[in-house]
């Protein structure tokens, strides 16, 4: 249990560094540390599927950020702006939101089961019948590709949409007409 607290403190420290440091590359590395800590926590709570996904996605995220930063700028131009009159309204709105959120959070947290003793009504059924009903030794694979296959189809569509969105936004020009090519 003590390891979890150490990792949580490391995550918080890295997150603070990420938002405070001016160099964007250093911020990306700090975010990588946050993700790495999450992966180790998943290992400690015996969730290897999540740990594997977390570690590989985190590595790729840092690579993506580094590639983009190296092509643009290292400097975070939003750091260090003085608090001015134009920030009063956003700050007030954020304050109201924070108070309401903290209130609701305190109510919800009391309803959670004790850490390490989760409710297992649905998961127990999956574990009991998973191998017999699906043939998959890895219960996680049985859940995401048999019991919840529609959900996985939705996730595949989300990723496809993400790719299309990125390609559309990053491309500088639309496709040229054939007539323009012929004129050129």
């Amino acid at each position: 249990m003590i390891e979890l607290y150490v990792l949580l403190v490391a995550m918080l420290a890295a997150a603070v560094v990420a938002i405070q440091v001016r160099d964007l590359l250093a911020a990306a590395v700090a975010m990588g540390l946050v993700g790495f800590s999450v992966a180790v926590i998943f290992i400690l709570v015996q969730a290897p599927d999540l740990a594997i996904v977390q570690i590989v996605v985190e590595i790729l995220s840092v690579v993506f950020f580094a590639a983009v930063i190296l092509r643009t700028t290292h400097e975070d131009t939003t750091v260090g702006k003085a608090f001015g009159a134009d920030m009063i309204v956003p700050a007030a709105i954020f304050g109201v939101f924070a108070v309401v959120f903290a209130g609701l959070l305190s109510v919800v947290l009391r309803e959670l089961p004790v850490f390490g003793s989760p409710l297992m009504s649905v998961a127990s059924a999956y574990i009991d019948a998973g191998l017999k009903q699906t043939g998959a030794a890895n219960v996680v694979a049985a859940i995401i590709l048999d019991y919840r296959a529609y959900d996985t189809l939705g996730e595949a569509v989300v990723l496809f949409t993400a790719v299309v969105g990125v390609l559309t936004v990053v491309r500088r020009f639309g496709r040229r007409d054939h007539t323009e090519d012929e004129v050129d």
Binding site: P48, V63, L145, D146, R171
Partner: protein, 153 residues
């Protein structure tokens, strides 16, 4: 560089390129190992697909790109992403062939549990997702960080 007779070096240093040659093949195989054993051990299509994408990203970062190579990368990643998505839907249609609902697992009685050939269409769906995720992430990487020609046209 002009006049020296040396070809212009693209990508990163010789050390990085040598290590990339050694590592990228193993990374690719490890990704596919995770995909194919997703119904037996932790991991699966998504994690394996990310690793496969990582092997391609490693090569493109280490060796740089010229225009026609980059166009091929872009074209093939788009094609494989669509193929992966269509494969997943086709595997779902197998449920209809077997007389049950769309995306239902079928033929899970084939083979023996805990062996590679088992779990019906679950490993096939893992393969489809691996292809889709790998190609999709590589396409995103090309668009965001590595494109010198295609996205600048």
């Amino acid at each position: 560089m002009a006049g020296t007779g040396q070809p212009e070096r693209r990508g990163m240093s010789a050390i990085v390129q040598t290590i990339a040659r050694l590592v990228s093949g193993m990374l690719f195989l490890y990704g596919w190992y995770i995909v194919l054993h997703g119904h037996l051990t932790p991991g699966g299509g998504f994690a394996g697909g990310v690793l496969v994408a990582g092997s391609f990203i490693l090569v493109s970062l280490a060796f740089g790109s010229v225009e026609n190579v980059e166009q091929h990368r872009y074209t093939f990643s788009s094609i494989f992403e669509s193929v992966g998505g269509l494969m997943f839907i086709s595997i779902g249609l197998a449920g209809y062939l077997a007389g049950v609902s769309f995306l239902n697992n079928v033929w899970f009685w084939v083979g023996r549990p805990l062996s590679l050939v088992s779990a019906g269409t679950i490993p096939l769906a893992n393969i489809a997702i691996g292809i889709k995720v790998g190609a999709g992430l590589f396409a995103i990487f090309l668009a965001l960080g590595a494109s010198r020609f295609v996205m600048e046209e």
